[in-house]
């Protein structure tokens, strides 16, 4: 079945619209992906559709740390059970938590905010998982919060907001944030003022 002036079948049009709703995918790429799906064999395509369905049906966010969990009914996810709850690393997104987890540096647990404060996009603190973090801190198990938000304007603003509310309400909790400064493999000559300023402020003595 085709519709109106557009000679493409309605099913293909729907697929193009669905693909273009993904971040970073424009209408042309959505078309290309749709034609690729059409050219694939049925088995491969159904595998993709099945994976998408399973992700939405079987996974949810942990009520404590807001990380992905397959256990919908439980209060705590695998990470909440297995990791030390004294040290909580606060990150913007799930992918940030996975990156830190893969490095093996952090032994404590995580808290995923699911975004950062971004007034330009209408995202305020109420849209982030900050209330869940406060509930967690109320339990009194946390001794240190490590702010690991991105070193962007939005990430820094989120860190400053968290710093303000945590230091005001939880005086016994130690607040730290990841060091800012020069990254490995960069040239000093091309560094921006913010990075240089941070690098100078956080300079360390040579033993």
């Amino acid at each position: 079945m085709t519709s109106g002036k557009n000679s493409l079948p309605v099913e293909v049009q729907k697929l193009i619209i669905a693909f273009s709703s993904l971040p970073g995918i424009g209408p042309k790429t959505a078309q290309r992906l749709s034609y690729f799906v059409l050219s694939q064999n049925k088995e491969e395509t159904l595998k993709l559709a099945g994976a998408l369905k399973e992700v939405k049906e079987n996974l949810s966010y942990c009520r404590t740390c807001c990380f992905i969990t397959s256990d919908k009914d439980s209060e705590n996810c695998y990470y909440c059970y297995e990791k030390e709850s004294e040290q909580v690393c606060v990150v913007e997104n799930v992918i940030d938590a996975i990156t830190i987890e893969m490095s093996g540096i952090h032994k404590g647990s995580f808290h995923v905010l699911h975004g950062a404060i971004s007034p330009m996009n209408g995202i305020g603190p109420e849209k982030l998982k900050i209330e869940e973090l406060m509930k967690r801190l109320n339990k009194g198990e946390t001794k240190e919060i490590i702010l690991a938000t991105n070193p962007t304007l939005e990430g820094e603003a989120t860190g400053m907001y968290l710093n303000k509310i945590i230091s005001e309400n939880y005086k016994n909790i130690k607040l730290t944030k990841l060091a800012r400064g020069l990254a490995s493999g960069t040239d000093l000559e091309y560094s921006d003022f913010n990075t240089l300023s941070n690098a100078f402020q956080n300079r360390t003595s040579i033993d």
Binding site: G24, P119, M120, G124, T152, L153
Partner: protein, 249 residues
């Protein structure tokens, strides 16, 4: 065939990640508002990373393109580090950037908005009353873009306004005298403005900013003035800016 590289200065107002490591950003520049793509800017080793951040005043070289202009070289001129250290100042700066963005047009070759935004951002962290600086910025940017608020004459009959409480309409961007207000029954679209509030706005319009210090202004008076201007802005743009509610914090 690719054209020669062009040079431009401007303030980055917003950034979005694109594909694996690219960033698309909006710049308020000497040539109006423009969009660029910085390829590979998300990589830590990129020469562009760090510079491509909102609230950075940069100089850049770019290759003009029919779609998105591609950045080849960037240098930071001013990073507004004092603003970036304070949460409330970040929110206020973002409001000013969104306002400047919404009143700018593409490739208009007018650097006055950029200059106004630059001077407002440079002063906001040393200001004793940052909301007053925002009010001045709002007032000035409207004037600059031809939407200046009529403060001295009635917007209906054009008669000079006497020293009294008058009615302000954000719809027409000015005041009604008592006679026009009553004869036209403009109750629903107007708000009563005190003599003090009118005096603040008139002083700002005359650019006598030093005189404002002698007024002993309260935050409430400034907020009331800002409400009038904000309503005008909403009527001009047609939508409420997303950052408005954050700029009052």
């Amino acid at each position: 065939m690719k054209g020669p590289n062009k040079h431009l200065k401007g303030i980055i107002t917003r950034c979005t990640n694109y594909k694996e490591s690219d960033r698309i950003f909006t710049l308020i520049s000497d040539d109006g508002i423009m969009k660029f793509i910085a390829r590979g800017a998300k990589k830590p080793s990129s020469k562009l990373s760090g510079h491509i951040e909102p609230l950075n005043y940069i100089a850049l070289y770019y290759r003009p393109s029919k779609s998105l202009n591609s950045v080849s070289q960037v240098e930071s001129i001013h990073s507004f580090l004092e603003i970036k250290k304070e949460y409330n100042l970040i929110l206020k700066a973002q409001y000013m950037m969104e306002l400047a963005e919404s009143l700018s047009s593409e490739n208009d070759g007018n650097s006055s908005i950029l200059n106004l935004l630059l001077s407002a951002l440079k002063n906001i962290h040393i200001s004793k009353i940052p909301t007053l600086d925002i009010l001045i910025f709002e007032f000035e940017i409207l004037k600059l873009q031809g939407f200046g608020i009529s403060l001295f004459n009635c917007t209906n009959c054009n008669k000079e306004l006497e020293r009294a409480e008058h009615y302000f309409s954000s719809n027409v961007g000015g005041f009604y005298c008592a006679r026009c207000f009553e004869s036209k029954s403009l109750f629903s679209e107007s708000v009563k403005v005190t003599i003090d509030q009118q005096l603040i706005l008139r002083t700002i319009s005359r650019k006598n900013y030093k005189d404002l210090i002698n007024f002993n202004l309260s935050e409430k008076e400034i907020d009331n003035c800002r409400k009038l201007i904000r309503d005008s802005i909403r009527d001009i743009i047609g939508v409420q800016l997303k950052t408005v509610k954050f700029s009052d914090l």
